[in-house]
Amino acid sequence: MQTLRLPARFDYLDEIREFVGNIARQNGFDGKDVYNIQLAADEAASNIIEHAYKDRTDGEIQISCGLEAERFTVVLVDYGKSFNPSHAPLPNLSADLAKRRIGGLGIFLIYKLMDEVYYQSNPDKSNTLTLVKRRA
């Protein structure tokens, strides 16, 4: 696993996508999978910046990724507020334009794009989000 530590700011999302994208490509994932892994990592990091570190500008995100036993794994660690994504309300995809909710879309996409998603709040006050894409 390779690890990157970055300030929890939206202007570092480019760097996060590049980091996971390069490692996914090196591990033989095709363009479509690389894009989807980048999108999932971006949505996860965006949620951490927006919610876990709400009203804070000193937050940090640690992101690790690599291939283990045919499973491409992305691990994001933050020290902000805990938020279990599996508790997020799902967007109503059949609602018409007026009723379509704007929140929750990023988390919904993460679950759709990746094969496995795990969330854990740790005793040291950190939170760990693990995303897995299996290599076909």
């Binding site: 480019d14 996508r17 479509k32 980048q38 999108l39 965006s46 995809l93 059949s94 879309l105």
Partner: protein, 111 residues
């Protein structure tokens, strides 16, 4: 991200260039709000040179579509959407909320 603007007789064409994520979506949302706020309700967004769009961009599109369609005065249409972006757009359930054209001129001709 960059946005270029071209005015047509019956609609306005915006070309989106680069990447739209949480960092750049506010700029994108502002450009769309400005257009609708100045009475441009019939919009074509040319995505042929758009490399990436996250849900932050989808949310900006949704807000613009709501504003443009108000009182049946217009709508936001999309053109030349790259496959990867289209797939994520589909997963998000957004495809049915927008008319999507193969190329911008077809979209302009629709108005």
């Amino acid at each position: 991200m960059e946005i270029t603007h071209q005015e047509f007789k019956r609609c306005d064409l915006f070309k989106l260039i680069g990447r739209i994520d949480s960092a750049t979506a506010p700029q994108f949302a502002k450009a769309l709000e400005k257009a609708v706020g100045s009475g441009k309700y019939k919009l074509v967004l040319d995505m042929s040179e758009l490399e990436y769009m996250s849900s932050a961009g989808f949310r900006a599109l949704l807000a613009a579509q709501r504003a443009a369609k108000k009182y049946n005065r217009g709508e936001v249409t999309l053109a030349s959407m790259p496959d990867r972006i289209h797939e994520a757009f589909d997963l998000a359930g957004f495809t049915e909320l927008f008319k999507i054209f193969d190329d911008p001129l077809q979209a302009v001709g629709h108005f």
